[in-house]
Symmetry: C2
Subunit: 735 residues, 2 copies
């Protein structure tokens, strides 16, 4: 920090002022520029190092080459903005050092990836490098002159582009974020060098007939696209659903979007005839919004599939999405408030526009709405339903995510119809995310840990139904890639009662699963209730288990349970081998209640139960030889040996408690009873009561999702008539 300040002072004293004086820029742009100058000057002073590649992610040579691509890119941008030739010289000299050494580097010595790089342990990082370094090269291309151009083009960039494409087709030709990086890298350097062969290769991929038919990557994803297409335009057409949803989920979309946006902008500028920004009805803009709308109220991306938690709207990588989204797609003023929180802008026209309009006070609050995303290139392979309800005078947001998407390729998890729940303080019901510490060398070199496959991907690690202690699709990606759930109903308008529902007929052969979840915002409750209905229909008896991965510390149950004197794994496979059984109990009444505390708030889940049901309290950590798993608690509602059954529960968040004043407010939930009144092929009717004697009945049409259909259902002699998928009746205490 002191060093940084010193440098800043030196810069000012020495009169190293940018061509356009920083003060003429709006504050956020000026601040980003000044910060970047300090960083780049620091690196320039330190000397540019180009070490022989050796280390895995997190190791020295990895981190130096990574820092280099960032410094080169920033120096290029500074040259463009300030005209100061010292920056151009720095870029040129750095690139010449790379040119000098690149040819002497065979494959990276680690040899631990399905596509080993030359600068890094994996081609993916080589492609990252080339994308960013292409920007730097573009900024100084004219300035370096033809001799240097020729040297760099032939000794460094064309070889690097060939290495990442024709020499590694298993990396280049997938429909996958890795390949998007590869396509963009090859295309962007092609545009800089005016190398049409590379640009064509980037846009259209290597033809299928030049590839081995059964080639697979190490995630078992297929190299050959089903359509026989590859390259950047195919990525645009096949990577996203028509509404912009990215099949791998937001964690990977955040990563994948960079090359899309960077190559997209470069193409828009240098190949305007391709109309890439307008391509597929502006798919890049939709993808930007899909990213920004897949974050919890705190700003963290929903950790669906293989996601490291904590990646956020406010991550440096998302600055570009916000700024380009604003600049290229409609100047949505609510994006400005994200930019303000990001505290940075891109050092280009887009960032300048954002900073200018922010300074002009144009920002409006970012207040995402409920959204049903579709999956698959045609939007017909399931999807992701996000319900958002606002409480406490609109200040507090609750977000529920139900996942009924396609497999999500190699990074997909086996968690059909799973759900997770969030509020402004973070996770309430968690998705485990990935078992991985990205870039942390000590944890398997920063790659996916073995427990990612054996636990994090398995069904039981998620909040979804597990039948016979086997994962969905038998935990086989080849089966998973064939099928997907179907969206059933979505009511995301209004703030009082919202619904998301989907079905899966293939997670378990011979069983039809259907889940419906509601957020109910009613004055009787502090925060929106989650009402959960899970129907399973089969013809062969099996154990049905529904886990709830709650965050926090258990406070109470309304049934007895016994803790285990020694902790044993709950099973041998399908993720159960990683679960310690801590305690178990059999609820005796019709309703099982479990209460816990987290982050200053109380939660109570009230479940309709049947005789024979058992609640198992579990915790990951078994068969975990390197302490890779988090010890977060869960409980499993187990219903043994049934053919068909329906689970129903209500989750209430209530009251508050702070150790600073030690005053609990409403520490007990108000729901007293949850019952299934009707449960047949056509309908399920739920009922729940609260302590004040109010009663709610929620009627659900399980077999007909036509929103215009009329229904009638008689319960206790009372006939209810309604139109559409669901109907809520409130019966007041006075009645």
């Amino acid at each position: 920090m002191q060093k940084t300040l010193l440098l800043l002072c030196l810069l000012v004293l020495l009169g190293c002022q940018p061509k356009q004086h920083a003060e003429t820029y709006p504050p956020l742009f000026a601040a980003t520029l000044a910060r970047t100058q300090v960083q780049v000057e620091g690196m320039m002073e330190q000397g540019f190092e180009v070490p022989v590649p050796k280390d895995m992610a997190g190791g020295h040579t990895h981190e130096v080459h990574k820092r280099n691509w960032k410094t080169l890119r920033d120096a290029g941008a500074l040259f463009k903005l300030t005209g100061d030739e010292r920056y151009a010289e720095f870029v040129r000299d750095g690139l010449l050092q790379y040119a000098d050494k690149y040819k002497t580097w065979p494959k990276h010595p680690t040899n631990r990836s399905y596509a080993t790089g030359r600068i890094f342990w994996q081609c993916l990082n080589d492609a990252n490098w080339l994308v960013y370094v292409s920007q730097a090269y573009d900024d100084v291309y004219d300035w370096v002159g033809p001799d240097v151009q020729k040297q760099l083009n032939t000794e460094l960039f064309r070889p690097a582009a060939d290495f990442l494409s024709v020499e590694n087709p298993q990396f280049f030709n997938r429909i996958h974020n890795h390949s998007t990086w590869a396509n963009a890298a090859v295309g962007m350097i092609g545009l800089v060098m005016d190398d049409e062969e590379l640009v064509q290769r980037a846009l259209y991929g290597i033809p299928n007939d030049q590839l081995p038919a059964e080639m697979r990557d190490d995630d078992s994803g297929k190299i050959l696209s089903k359509t026989g297409r590859a390259g950047f335009l195919a990525q645009l057409d096949l990577s996203f659903a028509p509404d912009g949803y990215f099949t791998e989920g937001p964690y990977y979309l955040r990563y994948a979007l960079s090359p899309f946006l960077l190559f997209g902008r470069a193409l828009a500028e240098k190949r305007p005839d391709l109309e890439v920004l307008e391509h597929r009805d502006g798919i890049l803009g939709k993808a930007i919004y899909a990213l920004l709308l897949e974050a919890d109220p705190k700003g963290d991306f929903f950790p669906v599939n293989d996601s490291q938690k904590g990646m956020s709207l406010y991550s440096p990588e998302v600055v570009k999405s916000v700024d380009y989204g604003y600049y290229l797609y409609g100047r949505d003023a609510s994006l400005l408030s994200i930019a303000a929180e990001q505290k940075a802008v891109t050092l280009d026209e887009a960032g300048l526009a954002v900073a200018t309009d922010l300074e002009a006070g144009k920002a409006t609050p970012f207040r995402p709405k409920s959204m049903a995303y579709t999956d698959g290139p045609n939007g017909d392979e399931g999807g992701l339903g996000i319900l958002r309800a606002y409480s406490e005078g609109g200040e507090a947001q609750t977000a529920l995510v139900m996942k009924y998407s396609a497999q999500g390729m190699g990074h997909g998890h086996f968690d059909k119809l799973s759900y997770s729940l969030y509020d402004g303080k973070g996770e309430i019901i968690q998705d485990y995310g990935a078992a991985r510490w990205v870039n942390i060398d000590q944890k398997g070199g920063g790659r996916y840990l073995p427990e990612n496959r054996t636990f994090a991907k398995e069904s039981v690690a998620h909040n979804t139904l597990v039948v016979g202690q086997k994962s969905h699709y038998n935990g086989d990606i080849r089966i998973g890639e064939k099928y997907h759930p179907e969206p059933y109903a979505f009511v995301g308008e209004g703030n009082d009662l919202q619904l998301v529902s989907a079905t899966s007929d293939n997670a378990y052969p011979g069983r039809k699963l259907q889940r419906a979840q509601w957020l109910l915002n009613a004055p009787e409750f502090d925060r929106p209730l989650v009402i959960d209905l899970f129907r399973a229909r089969g013809t062969v008896a099996a154990d049905h288990e529904l886990p709830t991965w709650y965050m926090g510390q258990l406070l109470m149950t309304n049934f007895d349970y016994a803790t285990e004197p020694t902790l044993r794994p709950l099973g041998e496979d399908n993720g159960y081998e990683h679960l310690h059984l801590e305690a178990a109990g059999k609820p005796t009444g019709q309703t099982a209640e479990i209460g816990w505390f987290n982050n200053g708030r109380f939660y109570t889940q009230t479940m309709a139960v049947r005789p024979g049901d058992e609640v198992r309290f579990v915790r990951p950590g078994a068969a975990d030889p390197n302490f890779n798993l988090r010890r977060d608690p869960g409980f499993i509602l187990r219903r043994p040996n049934v053919k068909s059954t329906t689970f129903a529960s209500v989750l209430e968040g209530h009251g508050s408690y702070s150790p600073r004043d030690e005053v609990p407010l409403r520490p007990y939930g108000s729901i007293t009873d949850v019952k299934i009144l009707v449960d047949d092929e056509k309908y399920t009717a739920l009922q729940f009561d609260n302590k004040n004697g109010n009663r709610w009945r929620l009627l659900f049409s399980a077999a007909d999702n036509d929103l215009a259909r009329d229904h009638s259902l008689t319960i206790d002699g009372q006939t209810y008539r309604w139109s559409g998928v669901h109907h809520l009746i409130k019966i007041n205490a006075s009645k």
Copy 2:
């Protein structure tokens, strides 16, 4: 929230303005006043409820009576500040309701305390009630007139005062925070009613000769003070060390200080002849500072002994300490910055002075220094050593606390020479604190949980040496009350090398324990190193085990370990029955290294080990039938079957990592080797190296703590000479 806003609007519209208009007050005072008015008006509108006592803490009647004392006190203060008689009427009518019902309430029906109350389940809460209600009564005493005075005095307040004193001597006559509340309650109401008998009883207690000799409270603390004294003046003389340290620790001091300050101020006003503010060289002011200086860099109080974590400098209860400390004891401008963070002031002259001076811009940063507190009324019963070092240009604080205090009475833990470590993000090496959820009904009615005694108090739950798997003083408070460790050395000046050291000869009969810990702030390290030395000398061989309760997730070790296929408790008693053994390994080299990650930072502990040493990875949670224990990890360095031995380690905090950018900085520690070069009766010499080949030698005089003594020690033919307890030598790589 909406309701609150509505009320505020109504207040303004109806012209219910305070006598002195809020805007003439400085902002923080005006804001506190306005907030209080909104709260009190809300309660006035809602109607005053005086329910028949029935519930435990957290239950309805408990919370209502608790809210009542607060509302009455606030309404009294509002009457005094605004002159609005509606507030006085509200207080009068509320008190009359209590008078009407109090006589009909026998003991609280729960009967679960050593001193059951009448309004609450324990006398303690009845005393809280009387302290605050006395303030309200004082504010309206003259206004209500003689008839109401007579009625309230005879029907409510004198009976309540007698109940809390002569009817419950086991509650009233201890030297304990419970009794301070009782003394203050009886004395404050005595001052209001001008009842000299009550005032004398409050000041001097019930004479010992009127008490049964062996009477004990349920914490096994003695009722009779050793000195035969009781009452408020005895509390002032015996509760604190001469420097203000409170033997139970800051969590209880925060609680105990309220009656001290409230009764103290009332006495200063109405019995100035007693000179209570000046009593014992201003002991109340020293106690205030002792409280404010026993908080971690985040502001949370160190959780020594029975403490619920999260109680903080910024808790509502601490507002009074800050404001009275400022107003009554020297107007220390650094207290103003705590007040600014508290966002509230007391509604009296003290709060007004704070708010006025804050508004005048007089606040300076609160930057606590290292401090060696003494324990015991005479300051000769051990103490608490707090080292604070500032790094990152003075912005970041690291705080190390070593506990060598007396038993701390009934709330004391058996953790002699234990330590804990904190930075601005919170705990790095934790003290478990109490097993208790204060006021949370679901958790044992909010009282201490069984695991508090069987785990939280035991030695193994702390970062201190455990010999033979037995707790210090054999876990017996009667032994613990007899002994205490001795301070050995404290060097808290300067920021580069600080030392705290203490000895204990009585934790284990026949064994002499000595610990020395340093914070070393050196340019080679990101943050201050913790250097730890633990010497144990005995004549009978026993297993020596040193736990480290680190916060975070294990990243690496430099030795192999094996995880357990099933988890069993590590022992049968002394807290070991609550520990699951997760894994164990025997380091093979001379140095064992364990690395972990927490809160965005990396930590590496490097320990000198010997053949036969074992590291056991443990986690609480065994024999925990109600999920009362937190599942935080720890490791135990076990050295079996030795008579005398010395443990040495270096803990380094380094680098950073955020999931937002996924860039690890310095994920590996730089310490390569920790060795004990000399270890005899007089000296221990440590040596540690870093990756750049630098070497440090730290020489410690273990048997002579005279700061003026000259020492010499020869190591590898090199003779070092120094004066005082310790000497650090740095040997540069070039040498």
